[in-house]
Symmetry: C2
Amino acid sequence: MLEKYILAAKRDRKSDLVLKNATYVDVFTATLKKGDIAIVGEKIVGIGEYEGEREIDCSNLVVTPGFIDGHVHIESSQLSPEEFASLIVPRGTTTIIADPHEITNVCGMAGPEYIAKASRNVPLDVMLQMPSCVPATPFETSGAVLDGKDIEKNIKNEYIFGLGEFMNYPGVINCVPDVLKKLEAAHASGKIIDGHAPSVYGYELNAYLCGGISTDHECVTKDEVEEKISKGMYVHIRHGSSTQNLGNAKYITDSNLRRFILCTDDRHAADLKEKGHIDDALRRLVKDGLDPVRAVTCATLNCAECYGLKWRGAIAPFYLADLVILDGLKNFDAEYVLKSGKVVAQNGKPLFDTSRRYLPKNVLNTVHLKEMHADDFILTLKGNKAKAMTIESGGVVTGCEIVDVESKNGDVVLERTDLLKLNVVERHKMTGNIGRALFKGYGFKGGAMGITIAHDSHNIILLGDDNESMARAANRLKEIGGGMVIVEKGGEIYSLTLDIAGLMSSRDAESLQRDSRSLIERAHAMGVKRGYEAFMSLAFLSLAVIPKLKVTDAGLFDVEKFAFTDINA
Amino acid sequence: MLEKYILAAKRDRKSDLVLKNATYVDVFTATLKKGDIAIVGEKIVGIGEYEGEREIDCSNLVVTPGFIDGHVHIESSQLSPEEFASLIVPRGTTTIIADPHEITNVCGMAGPEYIAKASRNVPLDVMLQMPSCVPATPFETSGAVLDGKDIEKNIKNEYIFGLGEFMNYPGVINCVPDVLKKLEAAHASGKIIDGHAPSVYGYELNAYLCGGISTDHECVTKDEVEEKISKGMYVHIRHGSSTQNLGNAKYITDSNLRRFILCTDDRHAADLKEKGHIDDALRRLVKDGLDPVRAVTCATLNCAECYGLKWRGAIAPFYLADLVILDGLKNFDAEYVLKSGKVVAQNGKPLFDTSRRYLPKNVLNTVHLKEMHADDFILTLKGNKAKAMTIESGGVVTGCEIVDVESKNGDVVLERTDLLKLNVVERHKMTGNIGRALFKGYGFKGGAMGITIAHDSHNIILLGDDNESMARAANRLKEIGGGMVIVEKGGEIYSLTLDIAGLMSSRDAESLQRDSRSLIERAHAMGVKRGYEAFMSLAFLSLAVIPKLKVTDAGLFDVEKFAFTDINA
């Protein structure tokens, strides 16, 4: 194994591939250097003057280590791991720390196992975190429950890299026994624990860190960044589609640089396709004034160090030949991407087979429902005042408004109101649970719409002004195995299939996006106000940790009181 | 386990120990900060305002993480691991990366096993590297041979941390199969490999690094330091007794700081006692102009990162409470030292039991010799010209001088010359091997002297002008199980026992040093010129990798020709 590297390093044999006359980022000294980068097999073997069986002229190009995304949920792209890779690898990302939190809430350990196996089809290293909070809250029915014992058993799996973002920070701080058991299991297996502790400071932060938690991607203020770094955390600079904190880069200094890493967390397929991935974060950071070599260091060596990824994240002998050949450190346009020494993308296009899909049965057909009927959606109120959920466009925080309502035949009347029925239909265990709410101001009229993405347990969120249409929508979602649906009252049904756990599609990104756009346009045509993301704005309406009023399959939930609440006002 | 940390962190219970009003080094942000440092069990649980069952007022003191020595041979102190700890722990060192190269050359795997077990008696974490080069050269008989297969088998041991300094860099560069096997075994076990590559540059360095080697402690020039860091190595700043490169600190920049670590490599008991250990390196570095916070960072966080020691090397929640409470960052005088949360030293004195010794039989009585007789030391020469070794005072490089000799009864005549017989007597396997040389200019007269420390195979080095005395010296060394000896012709024998492998003493440092000084004085009294280190200057005369003329048990060796040579000129 070593001999072929050594022989090539000392030029006793040609290297397999040489990047000639490269300017490259030396992350160890934060400088740009020049030389031929020689590669044998999956390794860089030397920098100097080299000849290769294949050579790429890099005279006017800049080479960096492959980018590492320190924290990402693949599911947010609605793409399979293979298709996800086909979008991000050509952008220069060669390693991701992935937390399959969503699919695990639906499928249990079949989720991470699927992601692990599917990822083997593509030239992207997926370090898989075991989701730590399944379910995310006890206020809803999820497809799986992973308690301390389950974590203890499963975290030892070879394909599990660490324990995913520990969102249940109150559970840590309050020493909930099963929560501590999860943390202790991770430590016993010697695996890293990712954090998630928005606005946790001072003694509470000390307490949270005593769980042995290494990272945070939720920082937004200078004080928070500085305190968390000072207390030993690595801080992610996040470039998600909905959540960003690129501004954290302003707090980088000579001394604390090594503790900053990059991530995307949640990134939609459209953004991946049109704007990019870590490359886009780098572009933005440099545009905002961060030194490009520092930016690259955060996206490579720092992240490798944080996650203990040896021989990765730098351009030096024996390091993994994960390399990005860029037009420069301003545009960060990748002309070539090398994964483990192989050219796997060129000019933004993958050179690997993007059509392969690993699709095990246990992540398909995950919508488990009895046949639904119009009567299931009758909403009987006690009086003529009720609580209605509202949501601002572009946000995930909801409001609660007391509205006047009329009823007829024991069902609320929606005609001539700005109200809709908002139901969460349990879809994992056939409990028959339906959570009921009123939703004000969304604008939709004349039928129903629904989606099987509903953070974090991913039951069905159904919206409508017609019981029959709502039943048809639910039944169609069952039929297609999950996805998005629109039903015209007494008319057509339009749907988009997300066959993998009801969260992701096994199709290619392009056709998926085309169909997705068309369905979204139809929702707007039926009244959903511009400004809302038609379907994705619904996906957070059951997330019972974000204020103010939410609805899960178990009922209406007042997040501020942290308790279920009556719809009757 | 975690609960007690968390409860104390959020002040729901008192901490076990609180360092009140401490100024402390925050290595993550390279700043001095203030606060109470709260400790529970072996961990730091928080920084803020805390109350403890015990409190230490640190108002006028500075707290740093415990120091880490990145590379040290305990044997160089001639002390047991327990006694070694009793000297360095009170100086603030709480973790060492130890390479038991010397004892392993004598005892094989019994050596590291002994060091591992003995270290458990003391509050010092000893990360044990498996010696990679046993024997160091094929030109002598060592007590043990560890080939690729042996390394493969033993490196998996739980008590082995990594593979020790890979001195055989020509073997790596030349792809010697058994050498590569050793490296591959280390990689297969996922363990780190320390380097040793003095003046190796360019393509040869690339080749060496393709062995997957992580560190170097032999750098001395700016170019060498910068090239090695740029190629991914961590560079040690070394503060040994005989080898130093503190000057490397001059090459620290904002950007490469993280790649510098501290070590001592070889440090004699007298230096440890009188000057110190890593604390002395820090004192010197700061005196020479290095920013003290940077110096501390090299000795703590950087070293922990290099060796993958998680939760160590910083003052933050969940980090190991290995702490040094200093009078300041100028003198670096440790008032208290904490190991894993316990106060283990105060005002330079250990607070732990320093008298315990683990002494297994297989590291004792390691001098295996047949009874020696005067005749064994007859040196028959062919003519009246012979090669004689010379050595400059204070050095380890030897010279070769052609001298006129007379013989009588088939033995060389030494009277009225400046010559001595220099014999290396094999002491491991009873081969009966005696290497024979002449030694010029040392000054000793009237008997014999000998030592069982002889790098790196540690046979017996015997010097004398009287065959009978030389035999008596050898026999005495056998009798005492190794050490140092002086024989007066026809008179007394004086000796110092190094009972552990003939290299280290199980006694306390103080009495050992007193007796050692007395024996050294006797050697000088018998003529050894001042300037030589009496015994220790002899210890390198068989090291067949340092020019020019050396002698091993297998004969006289010309290092420049890299071959054995005839004593007859």
